[in-house]
Amino acid sequence: MEQKDAGFALANKKNTINLGLWTLTWLVSTALVVFGAKFLWDFKATISIVAILLNLAMGLGMIMAYKRYLMGQDEMQRKIQMDAMALSLGVSVVGGLSYSMLDVVNIVTFDAEISHLVILISITYLLAVIVGTIRYQ
C-alpha cells in the first residue's frame, strides 16, 4: 500500500536503487572474501569464516531486495523478469552441464569454473530482459 501511495514510478525507482545498493554491497563483500584472505589476513580461518558469513548475510539482503523489487513491479514487468529468469535457468543448466562435460572428457584444456557459469547466467538474463522489454514496446 505504501508503494501505491508514493506513486508507482517512484516506488519502482526506490526499489531499483535499493536493489542496486544491496548488489553492490554483496559484490564488495565477495571481493573482500576472495582478495582479503590473500592480501589482508593471510588466509586466517577465523577471519575468513567471518567474512564469508558477512557475504552470506549481504547475499540474503540482496535476495530480499530483489524480491521487493519484483513485488513492486507491475504484471508486464514481472512477466519480462520471469521469462528472463526461466531462460537463464534453462541456459545455465543445459549450457553449464555441456560445458562441464567438455572439461570431464578433456575437450577443453582449462578447468570449467563456476564463475564462467555465473557470467553465462548474467549475460543470458540481461539479454532476455532487453529482448523482452523491446518486444512489448
Partner: protein, 65 residues
C-alpha cells in the same frame, strides 16, 4: 486482444502516464496493452473498466469474435 483504451483516453483527455499512475502500473505497460502486445490481468482490466466507467466487454474485444 483488441481494446478501446486509446479512444477512451482521448475522450477523457488523459495521457498514458496519467492512466498508468491511476492503475499503479508503468506507462510502458499501458502502451503495450493499447497496442495489443500485452493482455492485462483480470484485476487490471477491472481497474481500467472502473476508471472509464465502462463494462469490460465494452473496452476489451476478443480478436476471434
Amino acid at each position: 486482444m483488441k481494446n478501446r483504451i486509446k479512444i477512451l483516453r482521448a475522450e477523457h483527455d488523459m495521457t498514458q502516464a496519467q492512466l498508468a499512475d491511476l492503475c499503479s502500473v508503468s506507462r510502458q505497460t499501458i502502451n503495450a496493452i493499447e497496442k495489443g502486445k500485452f493482455d492485462p490481468s483480470l484485476p487490471l482490466a477491472f481497474r481500467i473498466s472502473g476508471l472509464f466507467k465502462e463494462p469490460i466487454e465494452a473496452i476489451f474485444l476478443n480478436d476471434q469474435s
